[in-house]
């Protein structure tokens, strides 16, 4: 045999070590996955939320989930109140409250309070999809909705373990437990409807639309001064139009106020832009239901950042808030790529499309062949 054992082993041991240690994280990482161009999303503006939980009730109804009563609530709750404390396999959407000190003012960090809506963020590069061994978690290439398929799922809970936002939940109380998480009412969207939470939200705190449009809307709000008057759109940012199966908007059809952009500092101009947009929409809408009327309000003192724009590769559900985002259970010291980019990168660096393992196997087989032959009788039985 011409194979040089020493060289082979040295290469076999040092190649992956070097690939990982020497190249460093940046080079091991695979290219991040961007948000699909026609992705749908949600803008949750914590400053608009009044904590009415209409969205929580609507979510239950839309997803056929029965009300939840937590243990210990029996004293005051005669099974008439839906009173979940957290997300669970049976609660896909929940409103939580940030509270501090006297809680005298809304959207204030000190002695204030704020609302937070928690559910799946439909990440651009989702950890749950990368983790799932059986493709039970999938990301729709067009809408970007991250869906769950109980018929594929083996219940390993790697998605629960890996999601950086702590979203998917498993039902530990049932012998046939499933994962539960927001799937952005994809069944409603397929019928041309708006996700239930956005549809019922009275203030526009939960706003549905195309991610590009929502981003523009958020930037407009961030560009205004606190106290400025503003007409907050409600329900579906694009009027009654839907983006369900085969019903996505083409580029040319998108709301034109997107181009109005954040440059517009004055409210009247904003309003004009919006009105024009709405007119354009009703013209385009055809037979669709008219959009919901906007909610006139005032711009709150925002944190100067749109959460979800860049975090972990971007998310299709994005947040505006008056209090710092880490107070709202959102991880803030995170990279601008999803963690899947590094984990898949490492895996693929090591395996190089299975070529490396096959070469390695060849080398091992050659050595094993030579060494089992050489040992004579002692090794005879092997």
């Amino acid at each position: 045999m011409s194979i040089n054992r020493r060289d082979f082993l040295r290469a076999a041991v040092s190649a992956p070590a070097l690939a990982l240690a020497g190249a460093g994280e940046a080079e091991a990482m695979r290219a991040p996955k961007p948000v699909p161009p026609d992705a749908v999303g949600m803008l949750y503006d914590s400053t608009l939320c009044i904590g009415c939980k209409a969205c929580v009730a609507a979510c239950r109804e839309a997803n056929d989930l029965s009300p939840v009563m937590e243990p210990g609530q029996e004293g005051w709750n005669e099974k008439t109140w839906d009173s979940p404390l957290d997300l669970s396999a049976k609660t896909f959407n929940i409103i939580k409250t940030y509270q501090h000190g006297t809680m005298a003012a809304k959207d204030r960090e000190q002695n204030g309070f704020a609302f937070m809506k928690r559910h799946c963020l439909h990440c651009a590069d989702p950890s749950c999809v990368s983790a799932c061994p059986v493709s039970a978690m999938r990301k729709d290439p067009k809408t970007g909705i991250v869906s769950y398929d109980a018929n594929a799922c083996i219940g390993c809970r790697y998605c629960v373990y890996s999601c950086p936002f702590g979203i998917p939940r498993f039902d530990y109380s049932s012998p046939t437990g499933k994962i539960g998480k927001c799937e952005f009412c994809r069944h409603l969207q397929a019928d041309g409807k708006t996700p239930a939470c956005c549809h019922v939200c009275p203030t526009g705190a939960s706003l549905f639309g195309l991610v590009v449009d929502l981003k523009a809307e958020a930037q407009r709000r961030l560009a205004l001064k606190a106290g400025d008057a503003y007409d907050f759109p409600r329900g579906n940012l694009s009027g009654g139009r839907s983006f369900g199966k085969g019903k996505g908007l083409g580029d040319g059809q998108r709301q034109d106020h997107r181009e109005g952009g954040p440059d517009a500092g004055d409210a009247p101009k904003q309003r004009r832009l919006r009105e024009r947009a709405h007119l354009d929409e009703s013209a385009l809408d055809g037979g669709h239901k008219p959009h919901q009327s906007p909610h006139p309000g005032r711009i709150a003192p925002y944190q100067p950042h749109l959460y979800g724009d860049k975090e972990l590769g971007g998310t299709q559900v994005m947040y505006l808030s008056g209090v710092p985002f880490e107070k709202l259970e959102l991880p803030t010291k995170v990279p601008e790529q999803g963690y899947a980019a590094l984990s898949e990168g490492i895996q693929h660096t090591l395996y190089k499309g299975m070529i490396a393992p096959i070469l390695f196997l060849g080398g091992l087989a050659a050595l094993a062949f030579r060494n089992t032959r050489k040992h004579g009788d002692e090794e005879g039985e092997r």
């Binding site: 493709s135 083996i154 809970r157 890996s162 196997l361 091992l364």
Partner: protein, 378 residues
């Protein structure tokens, strides 16, 4: 003529009965789990969706099963034939570590009746580290049984079959080195996707390498550990020479591990996190003190010749690798939201029952099958 022989002797002893009781208890609890859901027995929750059944039964359990892998690397790849007498007992431990680890997975899977989906190409998800681990482990279990099959063929005097298997054994041996290299490192890669949820004391792109090296160390340790225990239990002379040399190899592996582990921590500037208090810092200290202890006990060639040191060194190494895995998968993990987890007693009993079953099977096999090396002076 085989160079191995069954050691014979009475099977049904008092300790054996005790082990069987532990197995029975675990079986009852498993039945409970299948009827009432995971929550009926285990304390896992959405903040700690993986408890000791994943961490100990599977991740630690398969590392304990790395004896066969580590020895095959030494004997067949590095051509150190002198270790050959340790090969079969090592394979045996691997056989049970992996087979039972693979079975324990079923108990932990929430939707276990659909587990075959992993093998259906239209469900395959090759980007998933777990997908790769699952396939590799499944394949390695088959490989281990083939590697071990000559012992059966000798027992039942199927010389023809033995010859056939021997013909392609070199390929099986190669797979038996490749597959654990892949999945033991991937068990480390599994944690990379946790990102910030895993403390910087453990989160590093070197996770696959650290898991692989520590699995090798645990593989050598289990072989030494088992040899010392077997010599005590079955009153066989200790093969001190060979065990001393093997412990030297183990010593080298531990040093390599420690160099890499601390080199990485220092380069990433993560060492200070240790002093931020709490369980993480304490467990990190315990974990690495165990590695250092194993290295210290085995540091000198003379020390490696005393059975006591051999035993203590192997034990420290096994504990170190175990704590490292528990830390990486559980202690170092925090998803936010104030979740806590500590295994319930029934949960612990299931894990204990699985380990008891491993020992039971080991005893049956060494007593009835040609596993241990024939003594020169019987």
């Amino acid at each position: 003529m085989s160079t191995h022989e069954p050691i014979g002797g009475r099977l049904f002893t008092k300790p054996f009965a005790l082990l069987l009781v532990l197995v029975a208890v675990a079986l009852v609890l498993m039945a409970q789990r299948f009827m009432g859901g995971l929550g009926a027995v285990a304390n896992i929750n959405d903040g700690y969706p993986w408890g000791i059944w994943v961490t100990v039964d599977v991740v630690v359990g398969t590392a304990f099963g790395c004896g066969g892998f580590a020895m095959a690397l030494l004997v067949y790849i590095l051509n150190k034939g002198e270790y050959h007498p340790l090969m079969r007992p090592a394979l045996l431990a691997g056989l049970f570590g992996y087979t039972l680890g693979g079975m324990a997975v079923i108990v932990d899977l929430g939707r276990w009746w659909q587990v075959y989906n992993i093998f259906l190409p239209w469900h395959a998800q090759p980007n998933s580290v777990m997908f790769e681990v699952a396939l590799c482990v499944a394949a390695y279990i088959v490989v281990l049984w083939i590697e071990f099959s000559p012992a059966f063929f000798e027992k039942f005097q199927a010389e023809g079959l033995k010859k056939t298997v021997k013909g392609f054994m070199f390929l099986v041996i190669a797979l038996g080195v490749l597959l654990p290299t892949m999945h033991q490192s991937s068990l480390g890669t599994m944690l990379v996707i946790l990102g910030h949820q895993l403390s910087p004391l453990w989160q590093t792109p070197l996770l696959p390498l650290l898991f692989l090296i520590s699995a090798l160390g645990m593989g050598y340790a289990i072989v030494v550990f088992e040899a010392v225990l077997a010599s005590l239990a079955f009153k066989r002379p200790l093969e001190t020479d060979i065990l001393a040399r093997l412990s030297g190899v183990m010593y080298g592996v531990i040093l390599a591990y420690l160099a890499l582990r601390f080199g990485d921590l220092i380069l990433r500037g993560a060492l200070g996190v240790m002093f931020q208090g709490g369980a993480k810092g304490i467990m990190f200290a315990i974990e690495n003190l165990l590695f250092v202890a194993a290295a210290l006990v085995l540091a000198s060639p003379t020390a490696r010749r005393t059975p006591r040191n051999l035993f203590l060194g192997a034990l420290a190494m096994l504990l170190a690798g175990t704590v490292y895995r528990i830390d990486g998968y559980l202690v170092g993990y925090e998803t936010g939201g104030g979740w806590t987890y500590f295994p319930s007693v029934p949960e612990l009993l299931v894990t204990l029952g699985i380990f008891a079953l491993e020992v039971v099977l080991y005893l049956i096999f060494v007593k009835k099958l040609p596993v241990l090396h024939r003594l020169h002076k019987a």
